[in-house]
Symmetry: C2
Subunit: 282 residues, 2 copies
Amino acid sequence: MSHFFKESNSVEAVNSRIAADIDPRLKEVMTSLVSHLHAFVKDVHLTQQEWDIAIEFLTRTGQICSEERQEFILLSDTLGVSMLVDAINNRRPPYATENTVMGPFYVAGAPEREMGAQITLDGKGESCLFEGRVVDIQGNAIAGARIDVWSDNADGFYDVQQSGTQPKWNNRGVFTTGADGKYTFVGIKPVSYPIPHDGPVGKMLVALGRGPYRPAHMHFMVSAKGYEKLVTHTFVGDDTHITFDAVFGVKETLVAPFQRIDNGEAIWRSSFDFVLTPIDLS
Amino acid sequence: MSHFFKESNSVEAVNSRIAADIDPRLKEVMTSLVSHLHAFVKDVHLTQQEWDIAIEFLTRTGQICSEERQEFILLSDTLGVSMLVDAINNRRPPYATENTVMGPFYVAGAPEREMGAQITLDGKGESCLFEGRVVDIQGNAIAGARIDVWSDNADGFYDVQQSGTQPKWNNRGVFTTGADGKYTFVGIKPVSYPIPHDGPVGKMLVALGRGPYRPAHMHFMVSAKGYEKLVTHTFVGDDTHITFDAVFGVKETLVAPFQRIDNGEAIWRSSFDFVLTPIDLS
C-alpha cells in the first residue's frame, strides 16, 4: 500500500494518479506544478494558519475580478510571473528591440491615423513628439509596419478607465510606415500611475513594503509581415519610479530619451527606433 | 541598472524589492513562493496561451466560491497540498494515530450523546457499531477525551449538504470517555461519494483522467487535555475507491476493520483505538 500519501512521497502520490493517456503537455505542466508547489510547502514548513490565509487570499482575488478588473493578472504581474512568461516566450537576438508586458489596457480597433497626427484628444498634459523608425536587424527600413500606440492621460488614467469623462480613443492610434520605415505622432509625455491597489494585491504590496506605481511609459505594438510581433513600452528615464515598477516591466534598453524642445509643435521629443526580429530567426 | 528584470535574474529582481523591515516570516514565505513559482514557469517553458488558461482557471475557481462552496480548498485538496500541510504540521511518533484532512463538512456544536447512542437520524443505511478506546502511547486509557464524529448518510451526503431534507445533526455526535477510555456509538457504514465536481476543479480532474470520489470514511476529532488534537478518519478498506481518494486522505494505518455482525443491534461493527500524542512530545 505504498501508493498512499506520505509526506516523504507526496509529489509521487499525486502525480502517479494522473492517467497515462492524457494530453502529454498537460501532464508535463501539472506534474511540474505539483512538484514545485509541494517543494514550496515543505521548504517553508507552511503552517495550517498560513494555508488558511492563502486560501482566503486566493478566494478574494478571484471574487474581486470583473469585466473591468483582473486581480489575478495583477497578482501575476506583481510577482514577476507575467514578465517571466513574456521573457521566456520572446527571446530576441542582440540589437532587436525587447518585449515587455502588454498590460491590461490595450484595446483593439483604435483609429488609423496619418503620420504626424495628434492622438491626445482631451487637451491635457505636456505634448510630446514621438518619432523614429521601424527597421530590421541590419538597419533596413521596414515598410508597411503597423504601429499601435496607447498611453495614459495626464491624470494617469487610460481612456477605458474613465470612459465617462475621457474621449474615446484618447491617447491611442494606429500608424503604418511608408517606404522609409519612419513614424511620427504627437501625444503627451506619459505620467506614472499606480496599478489598482484597493484589493488583495494592494494589501499584499503593503505587507511586502512595496509600492503600487508604474513608471511613466508609452505602449507600442509593432507588427510587420515576416517579423515577430513586438509588444513593448518606452519608458521615461527620469521617472522616480523607474527602478520600482510594480510589475517589473522596465528593461534598460527600453528607457527612451525625452528631450525638452518647446518648439511650438510640442514641449518634448522622444526618438526611438524599433528593431524587429525576422520570424525565421526565432 | 542590473536591478531591472531579466529572465536570468527574475527571482532576485522580484525578491530584492521586498522591504527590509517587514515581518520576517512573511518575507521567508514570499521569497520562497516567488522562487518556486518562477522555477516552475522556467522548467515547463510556460507559453503565453497556457498562462492565459491559468489566469482564467484561477479566476473561475475564485468566482464559484460561496458560503456553501470553497473551490480553492478543493483545488488544494486535489493537488495534495492540504494533506501535505496536515502531514508537516502533525508529525507523530510511531504507534500514535495519524491525522488526515478535516474536510469541509465539520460543524461545531453537534449534540453531546451518551455512549452507545444512535447518531443516524434518517433511518437510512446499514447500521454499524463503532467502538474502541482512546489511549496514550503506552496503552493507558484516557478519561475525559472528547470524540466528535461525523459522516455522510447512505446517499453520500452530509446533513449540511441537504439541510432541507436530512434531519439536523444526522450522523453527528459528541461523546466523552469515562475512566476506561472506551467509546461506542451506532451510526452507518459510510459510503463513498464524489467531491463537488461541476466546477473548475472537476474539469481539471477530468482533464487529468482522475476521478472525483472519496472512499467511504467516518470522521473523528479526538481531543483530551495534555494531548495533541487528533483530526482523522477511519476508512472502509474494501471500498473500490480506497486507492484513488480524490483528496489523498487515506493512510494505511487509518483503514479500519468493518466486520459483518448482523446481531440485531447492528449489521456491521468497526473497532478502532485512537492513540493520542502527549503535547510535550510534539
